[in-house]
Subunit: 472 residues, 2 copies
């Protein structure tokens, strides 16, 4: 090939060298310039196209770098061999996958997820964040340490010791983004030989998580005191995942006796561990908070897990766990390559928020707010009191209703949805449906509902669940 | 037991009910109050201790709730049965594990990690963040959607189409926190049957990640064009993890021919995929950026992966991948329970930062800054030019030095450390040391070094590596 017929557009903002590059590239890719074709020399093309040799050099350089042409010393530039898929990418495949429609069009949603929006400390959070984005902090752009910032871990350790009776040091804490991330780390840390025992009913994501990680797990039935010891023993489980402070979703608090039995079970075999998920223990509305199970453990068998999803916001994505000494050692040997997923600025903000006492004040304030919401809910539900039973300790951010009106769980949920109220069938939390309660039961979370919304929503529920109650 | 001998301290700030509760609990736990012991009635104890029955009721209630005592109707309160580990937790085990000392005491560190601190857009970031912490945004405290906020994904899709030639839509993007998190998702998504092929030498964490997830992987040798096709074919790998835009750490750019060969390899078998890690492609200092390999793929075989660790900061913890249609479908079926680990506020900040053009301006600015740093480094190294060879394309944030002064890599690194300069032996990136380059080679990252620091550091390197060069 001696010359190129190439129509330049000098008015285009695209530089000439790039127009030339794109033209040649296209011709090679559609097969017009075949393998081993010699391109015009820079000198000839320059005088032909009336553009500088430098421009041509730039275009050729780019083509060489991307492999389209090959320079051969003292011979010139040759088209490279391209395999036979070249024209495929010229087809444009319209990709269109609809996002799952997550909106349910509910007026009132007793979803378990979410917190009270109006009580989030926006101005404090804004002020601390503004201060944390600080050009004089030389560490702020560095990738963080694997377990999370040590100052945040010191603050968390202090909080856990004082508020939850967890006897831990900052060194033992691993910070991550959500309970799932912590489980993801633990699955890697403990290895795949073990069988996990999870509560039935329980947190609906745990089985998905173990499944997607190819981990063995067994569901273990619970009563209102927690996992039944005989079921644990018959399960082959090595590692129990439990919620002793406030069982999710049934709401039971594990009494000391069961706690001790479960610890003893763990002490019987060196492969056994207990994962204590203390997910909403900040919210207990009567009596003193019950210390974490972890505080009773003296042989390093309990992995304590907590999160800010309930106490602050699920959108903050911060969780933490306390590793027993042996597992901490293993973490440092095997997993210290993991970078803490929480952004450094966010860790600094949270540290300051805790250290300055805002976190404690926030929790104390929220405890009163949620207590009030719970009271409103229970009070409103009282009009149905002969036909319903409220289940779950005076704690957390949800309760259960056992309803005896002849409707199935499915009916109850559907009827509620028909009047724009979201409630959740308990059967969804049962992995093993054979142990399902005979009485239809629904879960109502109230954290994100306004007081007045709770009242309005319950009125609608009464109307559709108990249409014969007239005097309400 | 008819009565309790209990010394109250009315001056203590601890409420009386709690003092009583703690006293009884302690007596039960150390074994002084045995199983089935009957506690004094509220009335009797009240008149004995001269405290109200309500106070006693509160203490007993707490003890009942925690399971220490059992109320028996019309009989009274009895001590519960506790197993035999009770006193163990009274021992205090001092736990003290030293944090690994990560400080290396270097004056100048050519670490590959980190970015230029002084050029981070602190004031813009602060302003946008301040605006993002917005009480009128009702979604800000909700747990985010699994793939990340759709507005951020729309902005990222636009950016990827324009800047990287990735033909993608927002629906196909999954946002996570760091490259490791993306690989963690992919390992779950693709399943454990597959064999991953990773570049040798390559990103040092990949093998750790696959190992800790029990995934099979093979190392595949590379030349300056990328993985060798014959080595791929001999490897049994199903899924290749490659860095075509700028191989890490060798710095080669994969030419079009090799790209097409690798795509064709993937097209031969339905189980095959290519993971394209486009980690620092924003920084190319000559020629036009080379579009992503993903842009050539028409059969949905390339998983494109990017991160803000180099373009913005590793402490931001944001990465993203583009899933081919089939894998996206599988993700939605199997993994949509995963919550995006990036905090909602951070996603909103980033979206605004990209949408308002700050991101593009920042990258363009950084490209010039890093180009200048690279030029300073290359220029300073020129005094050693007969004895060293600079390897790696004119791109990215690091380069390699092949050094022929008779020293081993270990010597080179040690000598540099002795004068307070951090450089990194290339052998650390070789999983399979048999293919190691014969010439000792070190890696120098320059992103986080100030111009003057680069000059000072190279002077020190010359002094210890080439003490005979006098005229420098």
């Amino acid at each position: 090939m001696d010359m190129l017929t190439f129509s330049m557009d000098e008015k285009r903002t695209v530089p000439l060298y790039r127009q030339l590059y794109e033209y040649i590239k296209k011709e090679i890719r559609v097969g017009n310039f075949e393998f081993n074709t010699k391109l015009p020399s820079k000198r000839k093309l320059s005088s032909y196209l009336k553009i500088s040799q430098n421009t041509i050099q730039s275009a050729y350089d780019q083509l060489i770098e991307e492999g389209y042409i090959i320079p051969v010393a003292r011979k010139g530039f040759f088209v490279n061999r391209l395999d036979n898929i070249l024209s495929l990418d010229l087809k444009f495949v319209e990709k269109h996958i609809k996002e799952e429609d997550e909106l349910q069009n509910l007026s009132y949603d007793f979803s378990y997820h979410g917190v009270d929006h109006d009580s989030f400390p926006f101005s404090t959070w804004r002020k601390i964040t503004k201060e944390a984005i600080n050009e004089y902090d030389r560490d702020i752009l560095k990738p963080g340490s694997s377990q999370g910032s040590s100052s945040l871990r010191i603050s968390l350790a202090k909080y856990l010791r004082q508020s939850r009776g967890v006897n831990c040091t900052a060194e033992e804490i691993v910070i991550s983004s959500g309970t799932e991330s912590l489980f993801q780390i633990l699955i890697q840390l403990l290895g795949q030989e073990y069988v996990y025992g999870i509560e039935n009913p329980g947190y609906e994501k745990l089985n998905l998580l173990f499944k997607s990680n190819n981990s063995n797990f067994k569901t273990i039935n619970i009563d209102m005191k927690g996992m039944k010891i005989e079921d644990i023993e018959g399960s082959e489980a090595d590692i129990l995942c439990i919620t002793p402070a406030h069982q999710f979703p049934l709401g039971g608090i594990m009494p000391i006796n069961r706690r001790i039995k479960i610890l003893n079970w763990a002490y019987e075999n060196e492969n056994r561990y207990i994962i204590e998920d203390d997910y909403d223990s900040e919210f207990k509305y009567s009596g003193k908070p019950i210390p974490a199970l972890c505080g009773l453990d003296t042989y390093g068998k309990v992995i304590y897990m907590g999160s800010l999803s309930k106490s602050l916001s699920p959108s903050i994505r911060v969780s933490y766990m306390v590793l027993p000494e042996l597992l901490l050692k293993k973490y440092r040997e095997k997993l210290s390559f993991i970078v803490c997923p929480v952004p450094t600025i966010d860790q600094n903000v949270l540290q300051k928020f805790i250290e300055d006492g805002h976190f404690e004040r926030h929790i104390n304030r929220m405890r009163n707010i949620y207590k009030r919401k719970r009271e409103i809910l229970v009070d409103e539900l009282s009009s149905m009191k002969d036909k319903i039973e409220i289940v779950g300790a005076d704690a957390g951010l949800h309760l259960l209703l056992r309803i005896k009106n002849g409707m199935s769980e499915e009916d109850l949920v559907r009827k509620a949805h028909e009047v724009g109220v979201g409630v959740y069938a308990i059967s969804k939390y049962y992995y093993d449906k054979t142990s399902l309660d005979k009485v239809p039961t629904v879960l109502l979370g109230y954290a994100s509902m306004a007081d007045q919304s709770i009242r309005m929503a319950v009125k609608r529920l009464v109307e559709v669940w108990f249409p014969h109650i007239k005097d309400y």
